[in-house]
Amino acid sequence: MRNLLTGGLLVALVISFWVQRDYRFPHTNLLPDATMVVLGALSLWLMVEGWRTRDRHEEHEEEALRWVDLGRAVALLAAWIIALPWLGFVLSSIVFSALIAITMRTEPLTVRRVALDLVVNAGVVLAIYLAFTQVLYVRLPQLGGM
């Protein structure tokens, strides 16, 4: 079943690339076109495989994350990156790295523990920020965009 789904999504991806085909210079079509044909064919093959084995019992994945946990992890990271241009590197990183640390605690939350997580992560973020901007002259997003 998973193979069927994966194959289907890959075919959709290939189609989304295929409709954008628009080449103006010679030979620039060769590699992308060949790749799209090959990937499309392989994905169809995967779908056929998936269809043939659709009734086969899929063993339970012990290591797979529960959807709740996966969603939490991805949402935190995504929110962090969305906040990056608005809050700037320092603020968004302190907020979200501390949030990640706090949500990763398995024991009950106390003010003390939350404060500890906040301090540790703020320290890490500030150290990285200073090292990159002051020593290595790498530009990082500032508060208020740009």
Binding site: Y137, R139, M146
Partner: protein, 324 residues
């Protein structure tokens, strides 16, 4: 793709003047600069632009009385950086390297390059490297005439390598082929450096490169011609013009700022870069690198861009590369 460019170019300075006249820009512009300036290069480190910027860094800091940091924003042959520039703050603290013909040809030949030529405001063009036609040292060709004869014998068979697409090498090859009435196959390589082994290994017949390479590669190559008005000092190579082909072009390197940057700041920056160009050490280093010193202020730069734009537009529409 052809737009009423000249009108827009004429409007830009007027607009910028208007903006700086109103609002609180006055004081900020008068005190400029009060903090570190970011000198951003839209290319990978290590190229000609990088070397130039590194040479300028110390004298720039001296002239500005502020720190100057050089950073890189490579991608899409510079287009990524220039489109970012159009979205940066018009305060003069982000100064970006910009190259002719890239900033002209990319918007002209791409449906959406992410910026338009007139959206970036030139401050100063300080350096240029003219095109040079190179062949391997053991080639039978001795002059441009030999090259043209060989190309005419077998139309389209000669391959000429160069640095990248829409570069001065590229347009220079097209120009030369057009003027000489020959047909050659231009092959773009990834920068000036990676085109060289293709020539030395005999994988291309000739290379349209830049003049510093003549000295750098020494006796491994023969230079047939250089694309300057006059022969270059200390370089025993004839010009295309000497051979009767009116081909004069090369890459011009300068700096640009966001288009709404107040005129005062632009002029201040231009004065600084002009002063840096007088720095004795820098002049000597430029000479060692076979870089040509150029002095195009803000207005002269606009004129330079305008004249090149017309020239390229004419050539490219003649070659049918703008029909879309």
């Amino acid at each position: 793709m052809i737009r009423p460019r000249s009108l827009a170019i004429a409007l830009v300075p007027a607009l910028a003047l208007g903006l700086s006249a109103c609002g609180d820009g006055g004081d900020a512009a008068a005190d400029y600069p009060t903090k570190r300036i970011d000198y951003v290069l839209p290319f990978d480190p290590g190229g000609e632009s990088d070397i130039t910027a590194r040479l300028q860094q110390a004298p720039l800091e001296e002239e500005l009385g502020q720190g100057v940091t050089i950073s890189y924003q490579p991608g899409a042959g510079g287009a990524l950086g220039w489109s970012e520039l159009t979205r940066s703050r018009p305060d003069g603290y982000t100064v970006m390297g910009c190259n002719i013909p890239h900033i002209i040809l990319q918007p002209m030949l791409r449906d959406d390059a992410g910026y338009e030529t007139e959206e970036i405001k030139p401050v100063y063009f300080f350096q240029s490297t003219p095109n040079a036609l190179l062949v391997p040292a053991d080639s039978e060709m001795e002059t441009v005439e030999d090259f043209v004869t060989a190309a005419k014998e077998n139309p389209g068979a000669m391959s000429v390598g160069g640095s990248g697409d829409f570069s001065a090498n590229h347009i220079g090859t097209l120009q030369f082929a057009d003027v000489a009435g020959i047909e050659v196959s231009y092959t773009p390589f990834d920068g000036t450096g990676s085109a060289v082994p293709a020539l030395l290994g005999g994988h291309v017949d000739a290379l349209m490169s830049y003049t510093p390479q003549i000295e750098q590669l020494g006796d491994q190559v023969k230079a047939l011609a250089i694309a300057t008005e006059e022969p270059m000092e200390g370089l025993d190579v004839p010009t295309f013009k000497d051979a009767g082909y009116d081909v004069v072009d090369g890459a011009y390197r300068g700096v640009c700022v966001q288009e709404d940057t107040p005129e005062e700041i632009v002029n201040k920056l231009a004065d600084v870069f002009a002063a840096v160009n007088e720095d004795e050490e820098l002049v000597q280093d430029f000479r060692d690198q076979a870089f040509n010193l150029e002095n195009y202020g803000p207005e002269e730069s606009v004129e330079l861009i305008e004249s090149r734009t017309d020239q390229y537009e004419e050539l490219l529409s003649k070659l049918g590369m703008l029909d879309r």
